[in-house]
Structures are given as C-alpha cells and as structure tokens.
Subunit: 199 residues, 2 copies
C-alpha cells in the first residue's frame, strides 16, 4: 500500500527529470512531448495526467528541480565562505566545473530562449536569478562587515555583475567547451574578485 500511494509522485518526478534532460540538450521549443515520455518510459496519457501542457511541466521543473539544483551549487555553499581567498577558490571551482548539461547552463539557456517571449517561464527563471544575486550580495555585505571586502563596494552591483559573468561563461562554454576557455574565464574572474579585497 505504501508504495502505491507514492507512485504518482514517482511518476511526476520521472517526467520532470526526463523533461529537464531534454530541455538541457534541446532547449524548450526543441523538446517534444514524445521524446520526454520516451525518455521517462511512460505514455503521453501519464504525462497529461500530471501536467496540462509543456509549459506547466517546464514551470514545475524550474521550481522543483532547477531552483534547488542552482541553490545547491551557488547559494548553500556561500554560507561557508569567510574570506576573499575562499570566495576566489569557490568561484574558480564553479567556473572550471561548468558543462553544457549542468544547472547553470540549463538556467541560462532556458532564460535566453524563453524569457523574452514567455512571461510565465521568464518570471520563474528570473526568481532563480534574483535569489542567486541576493545570496551573493548578502555574502559581500557580510564580507564588508567582517573586513575582508572593501568598504566602498556596492554588494548588489557586484553580485549582479558576477552572476551575469557566470551566465556569460556558461554560454561561452556551450560554444567553446575547451578547458582552456574555462581557465581563461576563471583567471579573469579571480583578478576581478581581487579588486573587491579590503585594503
């Protein structure tokens, strides 16, 4: 009985995981419902039982999968950072890890594709960016209070800049996936972060 109760939730998760994998590779418009159900080893009937249409499925995937994945990569780890050297090392690692299939890349490519033409998805995606910027701004604010970030720094501006830079790196990575390109971005980012250091 216990297992039967859970089945709808398991099916829903399987659909969202398959949808996310398809969106990450083929984009939103390029992901057909047929290939999503094939990947999930389900029927279209099962999909429509859970979601009225592709957009509702994408919105659920953004909220239930993409948002926590981004938070695990970019928000939770910030709590452990207590120096500019740690921030530099963290950003370098995240930069070197960027791959075309990861959460950052999925966030950016879905935003680039849909945000200008679809208010529902655009708003859901912008919420993730807003949380990401706010978490980074909070860290920089804390760094100012603790004396390792220069007191003239505007945390909100610098956070917006760093998030935009990472969004750009993930696009660059899609077109140009060599390790060397990532290293170049990581090095320039570290040089930029160094300018935030308290003198």
């Amino acid at each position: 009985m216990k297992q039967r109760k859970k089945q709808p939730q398991i099916t829903r998760q399987a659909i969202l995981e398959a949808a996310g994998a398809e969106f990450s590779i083929h984009g939103y418009a390029g992901s057909g419902l047929g290939s999503i159900v094939t990947r999930a080893e389900l029927t279209k009937g099962a999909l429509f039982h859970h979601f009225p249409d592709k957009r509702a499925m994408a919105a659920a995937w953004i909220e239930d999968h993409l948002s926590p994945a981004l938070a695990a990569h970019w928000i939770t780890p910030l709590e452990l950072i207590g120096s500019l050297d740690a921030l530099r090392a963290f950003c370098r690692t995240r930069c070197m890890e960027l791959t075309p299939g990861d959460a950052t890349s999925a966030l950016v490519s879905l935003t680039a594709e849909t945000a200008a033409s679809d208010d529902v998805l655009g708003t859901a995606l912008e919420h993730i960016f807003t949380h990401w910027r706010a978490a980074l701004a909070d860290l920089l604010e804390r760094g100012k209070a603790d004396g390792w970030i220069h007191r003239s720094i505007q945390p909100a501006s610098e956070a917006a800049f760093v998030v935009s830079a990472f969004a750009g790196f993930s696009v660059t990575t899609r077109a140009h996936p060599e390790e060397n390109a990532l290293r170049t971005c990581a090095t320039a980012l570290e040089a930029y972060l160094e300018t935030l250091r308290a003198q």
Copy 2:
C-alpha cells in the same frame, strides 16, 4: 533587366531578415518555416529554392546578417577608442542599449540554444565570439602599447571576460529588462574596466 537580375538576391535577403526576426523572438527550434515565409510574404517554395532546410538558412543568416551586425556594434567602433575613459563610455553605452531583440541578444540566445547540440551552427556562432574577443584583445594590446592599459594585463583573458560579461548581461536583460538592471551592470563593468587602467 537590371531589376530582374537582382530579384533572387532580394528574395534571399527578405527570407533571411524574416528568419532573423523569428529567431530573435522565438529561438531556433521555436521558429517554424511557416511563420518565416508568412513574415517574408513569400511561399515555402521560394524558401526551398534558396535554402535546403532551416539549418542552412540559419547558417546563412548568421554569416550574412548576424556577423556584420555584431561587427558594426562591437568591432568597428573599437578602432576609434584611444583611452580608458573612451572604453568605459563605449561599454556603458553598449550595456544601456541592450535589448532582447538586438544582435548581441540574438547571438547569445542562439548560442545558448543550439551550440551544445548543433556543430554547424555552434561553429558559426563561435566564429563571431572569436572575432569579438580578438578585436577587444587587440584594443587592450594597443592600450598597453600606448600606455593607457596597465602593463600586467593579459589582453586575451580580459577580452574573454568582458565578452562573457556582455553575453551574461544580455541574458539578464531578457529575464529582467528594467533600465535599473542595465545600469547596475554598466556601473559594475565600468568599475571592473577601471582596474585595467595604467597606474
């Protein structure tokens, strides 16, 4: 006679302009051939006379339209820049001008959507990024020689960083098109560019 000779070229241009407008709004996968020919006020027959398929049409649009548009925005104007203040002002202007329908945004969204899954389009788009980075690196190299860029700067790294940052701004702009967000990015970018100044 003269006009009849030119007609195929005019039709080709009309198709590419319509395709570019559709790609910029709906992305590559989201742009149907039907809506492209409707926008161009032509038939699918006319389209297939010029291009075997959508991908060939997209590749032609990237080469004939997107690449020159990007060069006009980002490469040609660099020739006139001869100081860090001029570079800051130029980058600020380009940042404040970013809109979801412009060439930068089209380049970035098309790259985010297709580069990881389509080698032909990915390579064509990466060529544009390569030229953009090279032009900016050349300017920074010239700035070092002329004494307005710090001599410890690595032009290729910094150029890759600035291009990535702009790619990221254009994504942010799609999700978050307020003037205030652009101003925040422009201000942080100027603060970053200031760190390149010769001491």
